[in-house]
């Protein structure tokens, strides 16, 4: 690799992976790192020779260099260096601009690049900006940070919240206690307090409703599946309770009703108190989803009050496919059935 001699003119702050030391500047370290990636088995003495051949003065002892290599995990085993039969330089003919020798969650970086490339955050940020503008007009006297955020800031903070679960951060306080690569991904890290305030301000401008259209694809599938998901909540305040399925306990919590289309795309979510039976809210929910997507066929899990529900769906012009509760029939003798088909596995329909 040919390293440009004017590399020292590069912005020194452009290499966040290295901290400039007393003897080795960031660029010196980037150069050493690049040379070592070309030839990881290169002894430190030979490495210094290579640097010298590039006429870059580097006043550093072998011992110091060895320590630096060990610190960066670029050290090699003791003994005579082995020559790799064919070691291809990774970036031949190009000068290093920025090096990050230790990068956690590499895949998340690549995924985020893919998201950027396809402008996945563009519609989300646009929806949010609209909501902020609407809030400003409705509440001209209000003034808080979110109302003044630039598009770039909104995008960065949304990305931080968005990527948190794949970085292993489920709760916001973990931004302060877990190592995360936001600084290498977004160019800056975030503390939980910043993101908590951001979330609070999103709540204030009613971002939930504003962000919901970002879930909708250009063409939603014909058949929409709807199901509820109960999440337990622990509180000392007396709260309304329901059966939290995962824990098998009657306790406080929340009931998320989520719709997916037949391609698996999530379309909508609404939260209800846990004591509210799904059959009481499902018609209004499906009507809302149907209006947003244009789809009118819904599939839901086994339903109680099936006749009432079927009537309500019919009245709204919506289609509902469901399974009859096993307790509501006694087998084939409960029906007057006509055979339509025999399937491949021998079961009769």
């Amino acid at each position: 690799m040919q390293l440009a001699l004017d590399q020292r003119n590069l912005d020194e702050s452009a290499s966040p992976g290295f901290c400039a030391g007393r003897k080795l500047s960031e660029v010196d370290q980037a150069l050493l790192w690049t040379l070592l990636h070309e030839d990881p088995e290169c002894p430190s003495r030979a490495l210094l020779d290579k640097v010298a051949r590039r006429q870059i003065p580097m006043a550093v002892s072998l011992r110091h260099l060895n320590r630096w290599r060990a610190q960066r995990q670029l050290n090699r085993r003791k003994g005579r260096p082995r020559r790799a039969p064919c070691h291809r330089p990774v970036a031949s003919g190009s000068a290093v601009v920025r090096v990050t020798p230790r990068l956690s969650f590499v895949g998340v970086h690549l995924f985020a690049q893919w998201l950027d490339q396809h402008d996945q955050f563009g519609p989300v940020v646009a929806q949010l900006q609209q909501a902020i503008e609407a809030y400003k007009q409705a509440h001209p006297g209000d003034d808080f940070a979110l109302l003044h955020h630039r598009e770039q800031t909104l995008r960065r903070r949304l990305q931080a919240l968005f990527l948190a679960p794949v970085l292993g951060i489920t709760r916001l306080p973990a931004f302060d206690t877990h190592e995360h690569p936001l600084s290498t991904r977004l160019g800056q890290g975030y503390h939980s307090s910043t993101l908590s305030q951001f979330l609070g301000q999103l709540e204030r401008v009613g971002a939930a409703e504003a962000l919901m259209p970002a879930l909708l694809p250009a063409h939603a599938g014909q058949i929409i599946s709807v199901d509820g998901h109960m999440i337990a909540y622990w509180s000392r305040v007396p709260m309304h309770k329901g059966k939290i399925t995962m824990l098998g306990r009657i306790m406080a919590g929340s009931q998320a009703v989520i719709a997916h289309d037949d391609t698996g795309q999530a379309l909508c979510v609404a939260y209800y108190p846990p004591d509210m039976p799904l059959s009481q809210v499902i018609v209004a929910y499906c009507h809302k989803v149907g209006t947003a997507t244009g789809s009118v066929l819904f599939v839901i899990d086994r339903a109680v009050n099936a006749v009432a529900l079927a009537r309500a769906f019919d009245a709204q012009g919506l289609g509902l496919l469901c399974m009859l509760d096993d307790n509501e029939h006694h087998g084939l003798e409960s029906f007057e059935a006509t055979q339509v088909d025999t399937r491949e596995d021998g079961t009769r329909v």
Partner: protein, 264 residues
């Protein structure tokens, strides 16, 4: 028994063993789907939703609570209990009134029998009167008990509900992430020769460390393979090849992804 104005249409699948599986749909479903397609469409919901929920719990923080605000309102549990007891109390009132009327009528009959000097009929009526008296006492006792229970509920109480606004924002975030991950995986799988699950991509690629170098002509990412088994290393190699084939770009420069053992 067919119910009056029941809008449901049924499709029954009779398996070799066990109870038949009964699907029902409204007229819109009948118009849109063949009866033989109903079981398949219903089963597809499991893959689409149940498994998606599991994935979102695993890597989307779907089960995490966000926001501690609560909204205090009337206690619905108490209201429901009160409604139920008031309904029972009203029924008990009715029963007492009915029993009292029956008792009164029977007393009149007994009086009539006495005045007319009936022998056997008087005895029969007196016996029936005693039975009605006992039933009235029972109904009154039941009424008193229900009234006591209704009283025990106390004045209308208050109970809190969660303020779901933050939770909804973060769940929308989770759903957006899940949609994006699915789309990313679909593109990646298009460039691979083997099937790889999202969970495997997350554990093999997303969670691994590595290094990054930006040059004037390309951006190189190294994925650390230290500690990987040979099988996982092979799969990761395929994933990396797929990523290279996806034509990823950073600031307009092509991204190259390589494997590297960074353990030493």
């Amino acid at each position: 028994m067919p119910r009056a104005d029941d809008p449901r249409h049924f499709v029954i699948v009779e398996p070799a063993e066990g109870k038949p599986l009964v699907y029902w749909g409204t007229s819109q479903v009948v118009a849109a789907l063949e009866p033989t397609a109903w079981p398949r469409v219903y089963r597809a919901r499991t893959e689409v939703q149940e498994n998606s929920f599991k994935r979102m719990i695993d890597h989307g923080a779907l089960d995490t609570n966000y926001g501690r605000k609560t909204i205090v309102g009337p206690d619905r549990h108490q209201q429901r209990a009160r409604d139920k007891r008031e309904q029972a109390l009203a029924a008990a009132h009715k029963r007492v009134d009915k029993q009292a009327e029956a008792l009164k009528a029977k007393q009149a009959q007994v009086a009539a029998s006495e005045s007319k000097g009936h022998g056997k009929r008087l005895a029969q009526r007196q016996h029936a009167l005693a039975g009605l008296d006992k039933a009235l006492q029972g109904a009154q006792h039941q009424q008193a008990k229900l009234a006591e229970q209704a009283q025990a509920l106390g004045p209308p109480g208050q109970r809190a509900d969660r303020d779901f606004r933050k939770q909804t924002i973060m769940t929308v975030r989770t759903l957006l992430l899940e949609n994006a991950l699915r789309a990313f995986l679909a593109v990646l799988l298009g460039a691979l020769h083997t099937q790889v699950s999202l969970e495997r991509v997350l554990s093999l690629l997303f969670e691994r460390s590595g290094a990054r170098m930006e040059t004037t002509s390309q951006v190189v990412y190294w994925v650390n393979t230290a500690g990987l088994s040979a099988a996982n290393r092979r799969v990761l190699g395929e994933i990396v090849e797929g990523l290279c084939a996806m034509d990823l770009r950073e600031h307009g420069q092509p991204i190259r992804v390589c494997l590297k053992d960074m353990s030493s």
